[in-house]
Assembly symmetry: C2
């Protein structure tokens, strides 16, 4: 099993794409859990803040949950700002104890994120109402190691979702959708010899010329 | 799916029985996670202490993990002192959002636990080296609501494990072991009419007199 971990600035599009990927994977018959970073905070450590150390703690806990679920054959989707390279590497190490880790860098210029700002968080952060806000008063380290980079200022959510699914297929984590039904799905694709034998039989029966 | 939550004093036998129940359920083909309370502490909140409030936090977090796993068809086993009725009720409420909650009270007189004391914790607590130690300097509230009570001063771990499995069967959470193999397991037991029709056919074919 595997964990798809989306990292990026607030309002870069992480959650939107994570939600679409979650639904696409479920349609392909996978058991999926979308670990919403805010919900995990609320349930596991409501009093945790947003200092570098506390963000690391949050990432570590989410990674532990992801590992636990991967171990039981549940695909995990995570959308978390996770702005520090060292914390992302730690999350990778933890998840890899039980599954594979697929890091998606949701890249978007901070100016575009600020212009979107669907929850008005950048505005509040710039007024000084939210301390340690990534992109305003807290750094975001662009990933050095990642499996896929999306550019959400250029590509729409649908395109980005397709890029993620294609990336998972290339990494061998997901069966191509074309092979998602029928015999191939079960790993019983015909050999060329078998296929020829069947064609021959159909020819004998008059179904093929 | 369901969570079996063992509550009781330190050294009452919770972990020993939990481990045996885990193995028995796995032998019956279930996907099982044994959420060791110490491991959860280490992974989720290493700095959390043992005050009443912090114990409540710990119970809440374990319950959240259990809920998440139950949601994905994983049976969860928890062994946690969980000395307060209000925290056990909270854990029940959380788990019941996704699965069923089966509380096992591992009852054992504190004198017997102290005499066992496999890790020497009671001794250290009595020397004042461990603060807030349940049974010495911290209270244990006997459960008012529970699904099963074990008496580990009287019954050995094997007997207690059988009592838990029988309790889970009575509660409809577990198929009786006798029906654990063959057709009945799949819910396709034959009706008397079908059985007679098959016997008749076998007779015709000369397999039966």
């Amino acid at each position: 099993m595997f964990t798809v971990w989306f990292t990026g600035l607030p309002a870069s599009g992480k959650s939107t794409i994570a939600k679409r990927v979650e639904e696409a994977l479920r349609r392909r018959g996978l058991d999926v859990e979308n670990l919403d970073a805010d919900e995990v905070r609320r349930n596991l450590h409501p009093k945790l803040g947003f200092s570098k150390e506390e963000r690391g703690e949050n990432n570590r806990r989410i990674a532990y949950l992801a590992k636990l679920l991967n171990k039981h054959d549940v695909v995990v989707i995570v959308a978390a700002v996770s702005p520090f390279e060292e914390h992302r590497r730690m999350a990778r190490r933890i998840v890899e104890e039980a599954g594979r880790f697929f890091l998606v860098w949701v890249n978007c210029p901070v100016e575009v994120c600020k212009a979107r700002d669907p929850k008005g968080l950048y505005e509040r952060a710039e007024r000084g109402e939210i301390p340690d806000f990534t992109g305003v008063s807290h750094p975001y380290e662009p990933p050095q190691r990642y499996e896929l980079r999306l550019d959400t200022a250029k590509d729409d959510p649908r395109t980005c979702t397709e890029q993620v699914l294609a990336g998972l297929e290339r990494a061998g984590l997901l069966q191509p959708a074309e092979a998602g039904t029928g015999r191939e799905r079960e790993g019983v694709a015909l050999t060329p010899e078998e296929e020829e034998a069947i064609r021959e039989r159909l020819r004998q029966l008059g179904y093929l010329d």
